[in-house]
């Protein structure tokens, strides 16, 4: 068994997972065929990402030593229960508090460390944790450098390319971040991407958007969110502080998420926002109207179940959105 799986929520310190000696594999699948397999175990109205990940684990159960999940979103937590019941793969569900409660997170990380140490018969001493923190810091810095090209104005790297690179990283292949990137400079309208996690198989979706627009930044679990997790203190305590303070939409209240995005929109000089919402993803679906009021930029909501059956419709909507962006820039809207 080569992999230690973990759910897409970015609150599980990846440094601790890789300290086990296995490849941390982020469950970020969005393949309709895998979803069909998942639908044997959950209802059709479960989140497509969850269904697809269940499908992937069922098909690859021998590769996983264990899977670490969290209570971040309700379906994600329940996915682990289903995986455990259906496959027998050992799982650990981290109780990630939704409200401001550092005590719980602190204790949960301590428990996770104890669990991993015992399960893998490894001592997570200071030097091991430091080594892993530094290793991941280096990788993240490489990716931040790459991402700087995407964020620059004009943007010189497409999100389509960036997505391919981070996909490799989230599948546990740490090498590859430093490779050369193509020059993809463009003056297309700059948009910021938010919403449900972009999956490993979302390449065509991103490509469709970038045919007419440039995604110059994002706060998405499937793209750059994790690479800006800057652990300043390479210890378990440092990991706790860093991961706990990551803003996210399911936190209550989620004000820090909005503040973060506002700052990001200014930094990236985005002229519009695309919110990709998976079917039945409450955490984003509920917030669209609020985002429209708060961010004061044109917003395009693209709903998907990964099937891409609505490709033509999406294309038309993206075209219409470009017209809105133009009108907005010229002050008509």
């Amino acid at each position: 068994m080569e992999l230690i799986g973990y759910t897409c929520c970015s609150y599980i310190p990846i440094e601790l997972l890789s300290a086990t000696g296995l490849k941390p594999y982020r469950l970020m699948h969005g393949d309709p065929l895998l979803s069909l397999i998942g639908e044997r175990l959950v209802r059709v109205d479960a989140c497509p990402l969850i269904k697809s990940n269940i499908g992937f684990v069922l098909e690859n159960k021998k590769r996983f030593a264990c899977i670490i999940g969290s209570t971040g979103c309700d379906m994600e937590r329940r996915m682990l229960e289903i995986i455990r019941t259906a496959t027998g793969i050992p799982v650990h569900i981290l109780n990630n508090p939704r409200t401001d409660n550092f005590e719980i997170f602190n204790n949960e990380i301590d428990l996770l460390v104890r669990e991993l140490e015992q399960f893998f018969h490894r001592k997570f001493d200071k030097s091991l944790v430091q080594k892993e923190c530094e290793r991941w810091k280096k990788v993240r810095e490489q990716f931040q450098e790459i991402d700087a090209k995407r964020r620059s104005n004009p943007s010189t790297l497409s999100t389509t390319t960036f997505h391919k690179m981070v996909t490799n990283l989230y599948k546990g292949n740490l090498e590859g971040g430093g490779s050369d990137t193509p020059d993809e400079m463009t003056y297309k309208p700059r948009v910021y991407l938010l919403g449900s996690p972009i999956s490993y198989e979302s390449g065509p979706f991103i490509d469709l958007i970038e045919k007419r627009l440039r995604i110059c930044g994002d706060y998405n679990c499937g793209l750059s969110r994790d690479i800006y997790t800057n652990v300043s203190e390479p210890t378990i305590e440092g990991l706790k502080k860093t991961y706990y303070n990551l803003p996210y939409i399911f936190k209550r209240p989620n004000i820090t998420y909005y503040e973060w995005i506002e700052k990001e929109l200014k930094l990236t000089k985005s002229t519009g926002i695309i919110v990709s919402v998976l079917d039945y993803c409450d955490n984003f679906d509920f917030e669209i109207s609020r985002m429209e009021k708060r961010f004061k930029l044109p917003i395009l909501k693209l709903k998907s179940d990964f099937s891409f059956q609505n490709q033509s419709q999406m294309k038309v909507r993206i075209d219409a959105f470009i017209e809105v962006l133009a009108s907005y820039r010229s002050g008509v809207v």
Partner: protein, 467 residues
């Protein structure tokens, strides 16, 4: 009061109105909420509430006992009661998300009235109106989510309950839909006090076996990490302090007394459920039973009066069981009901088609469990809440039903879902597998007026299978 006993049966609204004419005025005057004889009378025929908008009452059938009539009068009177509470300077406190425990704290402060806005999810169905659901859509809420989204509309419209003096919003290891609803309510300008609901991680969901000294067991037999008790105690201490700040009163002795009262109610309800399940003929219809169960949450905003109402129902049920009489046929098939139906009509329909509900899992287990009286009260509250339905595994949630199936007490399982609701989407298939020793039927509760021939046929087929 000496009451004339009638033959138990389910009757229509018209029949109730006729029966109501025989109730003497002095009896009507005897029952009052907030013990106020000037405006606190709530006993009226259900037709009154139909006239005021609860149109579905025309289609529903009710238990014909005086005790049930009293219950319906009280339950449907809640909106008026909450506005009255505000008028007479009581503090109206919205407790959201925890379903059953925070109100125990609220009741321990003088002149504080808790209520659950989420109980409005029945309103579109009782009113046969999509107004609240449509408003939620207009406000940008997705349609494929739990009906509890109507809470956003109610806060927006400001006419379903008075502006709360305090909102205590519990979230965490619970359903996403309602957590999102509460977040939207806050973004509308309402100040929330957020309370964390910890996750009851069973030993199955850890990589290694936890040390015995780190675990404890709830009354319902769920193993849990001891530390979550501490988390809850601290959260309840925060709530207590906030209520102290609001009222200026700090009397822990009142909490001890409230717990005793709450336990009295929970005991009564448990006994009613037990009698109903074990009697040869079901003494009470499922709709009334569900309403009684949900009363455990907050006593429909007048706890003392509600306990008295339930005591009356308990006596009536006991009497019916003793006499071997009831409201359903003797051969009605015993089923378990998982997740409450937002549409009350479904409970009538299932009984009309030949079933009787003998076990329920209405996501409010925490409101049914007794609270320990011999330990520190906040800890006792924490320990009772840890039994909650949605904070642990699905297997734990349906364990009691599984046991009763093994005892041959349940012949089928009915699961009512809401399309897109997070726990329904993930739990239903698993529940079907866990309870696979008997047939299970899973129904998506449709919007008002949505119960059609197709659903009826599916239930009929289900009944044929389990008969």
């Amino acid at each position: 009061m000496k009451k004339k006993r009638t033959i138990p049966k389910k009757i229509s609204l018209e029949a109730w109105s006729r029966q109501f004419e025989n109730i003497p005025i002095e009896v009507i005057k005897r029952f009052r909420y907030y013990d106020n004889d000037e405006w606190g009378i709530y006993l009226s025929p259900p037709a009154t509430f139909m006239v005021y908008g609860a149109r579905e009452l025309q289609r529903l059938k009710f238990d014909n006992s005086f005790e049930s009539l009293r219950m319906w009068g009280f339950v449907f009177n809640e909106t008026e009661r909450l506005f009255r509470a505000k008028q007479i300077n009581k503090k109206v406190i919205a407790t959201m998300g925890d379903l059953g425990t925070i109100p125990v704290l609220v009741f321990s402060f003088p002149d504080c009235v808790p209520f659950y806005p989420e109980c409005l999810w029945w309103t579109p169905f009782f009113k046969e109106s999509t107004e609240l659901l449509d408003t939620a859509s207009r406000l940008g809420l997705p349609e494929a989510t739990c009906f509890s989204r109507v809470v956003v509309s109610a806060f927006y419209k400001r006419s379903y309950f008075p502006k709360p003096d305090l909102i205590i919003a519990s979230t965490g290891a619970s359903c996403d839909d309602y957590s999102c609803v509460m977040q939207i309510v806050e973004s509308m300008g309402y100040e929330m006090m957020w309370v964390e609901i910890p996750y009851r991680r069973s030993t199955e969901f850890t990589l290694t076996r936890p040390r015995p000294q780190d675990c404890d067991k709830t009354r319902d037999g769920f193993i849990y990490p001891k530390v979550i008790e501490e988390y809850l105690v601290r959260e309840y201490q925060r709530v207590w302090q906030r209520l102290f700040k609001l009222t200026g009163v700090n009397n822990p002795h009142r909490l001890v007394e409230t717990i005793k009262k709450v336990n009295r109610l929970r005991n009564l309800v448990e006994e009613i459920k037990k009698m109903n399940a074990e009697a040869e003929i079901a003494p009470l219809p499922a709709l009334e039973l569900m309403t009684i169960e949900f009363g455990n949450l907050y006593g429909y905003a007048d706890f003392d009066e509600w306990v008295d109402i339930v005591q009356g129902i308990y006596d009536m049920v006991k009497d019916r069981v003793k006499k071997g009489i009831g409201v359903l046929r003797k051969d009605a098939i015993p089923i378990a009901w998982v997740t409450p139906s937002a549409d009350p009509y479904l409970l009538n329909l299932v009984e009309d088609l030949g079933c009787r509900v003998v076990e329920t899992e209405y996501v409010i287990r925490q409101a049914l469990t007794l609270i320990e009286e011999d330990i520190e009260p906040l800890r006792a509250l924490a320990r009772s809440f840890i039994n909650a339905s949605l904070i642990g595994s699905t297997e734990e949630r349906v364990r009691r039903i599984k046991q009763k199936i093994a005892q041959n007490k349940i012949k089928g399982v009915l699961i009512t879902n809401m399309l897109g609701a997070s726990h329904c989407a993930m739990e239903t298939r698993l529940i079907e597998r866990l309870l696979s020793d008997v047939p299970a039927l899973s129904i998506d509760v449709p919007a008002p007026f949505g119960i059609n021939q197709q659903i009826r046929t599916r239930i009929e087929a289900f009944v044929e299978t389990i008969r």
